[in-house]
Symmetry: C2
Subunit: 377 residues, 2 copies
Amino acid sequence: MTPDPGAGARSAPARPDKLYHRIGPFEPELGGHIHEVTLAYETWGELDPSGENAVLVVHALTGDSHCAGGRSEAYRRGGWWDAMVGPGRTIDTDRDFVVCSNVLGGCSGSTGPASLDPETEAPYGRRFPIVTIRDMVRAQKRLLDALGVRKLRAVIGGSIGGQQALEWAVEFPGFVERCAPIAANGALGPMGLGMSEIGRRAVMADPDWRGGDYYGTGRAPDKGLAIARMAGMMTYQSAPGQWERFGRRPASRPALYEELGGRFEIESYLHYQGQDLTGRFDANSYLYLTRAMDLYDVGAGYESQREAYSRIEADVLFVGISSDWLFPAAEVRAAAEDARRAGANARYEEIESLAGHDSFLKDWDQLRAVVEPFLND
Amino acid sequence: MTPDPGAGARSAPARPDKLYHRIGPFEPELGGHIHEVTLAYETWGELDPSGENAVLVVHALTGDSHCAGGRSEAYRRGGWWDAMVGPGRTIDTDRDFVVCSNVLGGCSGSTGPASLDPETEAPYGRRFPIVTIRDMVRAQKRLLDALGVRKLRAVIGGSIGGQQALEWAVEFPGFVERCAPIAANGALGPMGLGMSEIGRRAVMADPDWRGGDYYGTGRAPDKGLAIARMAGMMTYQSAPGQWERFGRRPASRPALYEELGGRFEIESYLHYQGQDLTGRFDANSYLYLTRAMDLYDVGAGYESQREAYSRIEADVLFVGISSDWLFPAAEVRAAAEDARRAGANARYEEIESLAGHDSFLKDWDQLRAVVEPFLND
């Protein structure tokens, strides 16, 4: 059968949407060794001969390298930052060479705990070494070097992506011109640490976790991961936002679990969010990535946070979200002030929203309004 | 061997510290039937012949009837409101006849899901009917009637105890002179509902829960209950309070669980709190009591919350805690305003504290300062 080129057919894309690069062996900063690291990534636009028109977009906890574009075989969902990245958009793929890669330790194509350890020919599981935000950034640097990027016009991301954006400016000061951490600062507070640990305990208490060695058993710690996601979702929202969106209204969807005197819409929402994640995310990656988020301290390895901030050469825009309780706006603002006091050209903008931490994946107009002038002036 | 009455011996107490009263069969408002309800309780002071000098103290989620006094065979811990209840204290046992009973559905002597169902001669487990705040209050009323109490000079409690205090004033208006709900209002918000459900899911996902029929198996859903407690503890504290108390300091106690790149003090604290509860609390009771807390709506069964509040004859003091995020101070204040608008003699006082929801179990000076004039003027 000959395809009919007149029937809405499009020419094959010049490159597949998900690409892979082997950056080789990797030594995580807290110890251990990964024999071979591959990063999955995607690019949009063209790199200038100068190699200086690149923008690195860094994804959030359960995100992936598909920050823009439609669904495809490799990506079941459309781009998570489609509203921000594309031709003529805030991050303009007609001008910029945009790169987004799945983080080290992730489960969307990059090497992580679900990957095969070539030494044992079994998945790493809990034998995967602890990886840090700095490790993620160092791995990305090797990818960018291989792509011929000589300077980042900008690095931007929210939440754990914002931690990485900040670390980029500290770790590779000469390489970054603009850095925009959104809903992130130099170190997560104890309430975030606590909620994060509740999620991990739920995964590790699930008998199907099997100490991390559930691969190939036909089972996975889905119940635990769903609970972890529920706990995570709570930290991504705000109390006033939940009043507006859910209130105490009864559930509008069928029950996924046993009812105990009826259900509220907020519960139903959490159940569905929890179940949704189990179909698309590896539980061990969830443990490792949340831990990296917890452990991140911009001052680690330096005399002080001040010394770390003083290394920054990039212009930095910290973006806080008024109702964020994972990275409270006041703590993001304080990070901007700390950076400025240490000599960095750092400023702070705040998004007024009830959407909580997740605002950077929702409040497009406000986000564009603060990011656009910073990136493109 | 003859005891030496001179060697610090005290006469045996006139009554054992934990008492039991069978209130008989009980019909929970949402349906079902409990064949025989017993309430465990404790009293201090003497009831006047008038029967009108009684004060009912209502315990919080994992509390019990021992609001005052030392450790004993029946009570492994000292009174949870010792600072408030005793001779010459804010709730003065030299003047008041103080009663505190373990709630219906609880696990400290009162009938709950761990009790034997006389029909099956097996513990109820999940066959225990859903009980509500109103059911708890109605059960307490039958106890007070049996004790000869004809009027409550005051009813007071925090959290789920505060919900019951409020419901007392609505359900039995002529019986209550003063009502002081602390860190509670007419209906829990969606963030509280969500956190509550995360805890229940953790219990119910634990394979040792066995659909609620774990009694006699030699096992209990301890892992799940510990996670539930961890989630609960987060809602009892405040972010600024956790910064002050824990910050990002490393753990100072031995690990109870596998470490993942080290531990923080907040994690260690949560782990120990979680483990502690498993030794002293029944997981099914945890499910039922948190559900009662969620379901409570002061207006349920009435045309409106306003109609419910309009029934109140007691003087009401709502006490909010500035840093409470389970029952945010603004929502407690709003309840006081709603009650006042409905015609109740309601006022609002706020405790300024970083201790969060748990402040009513800690900030004694402030608590006394707001409660004392209300109770004793």
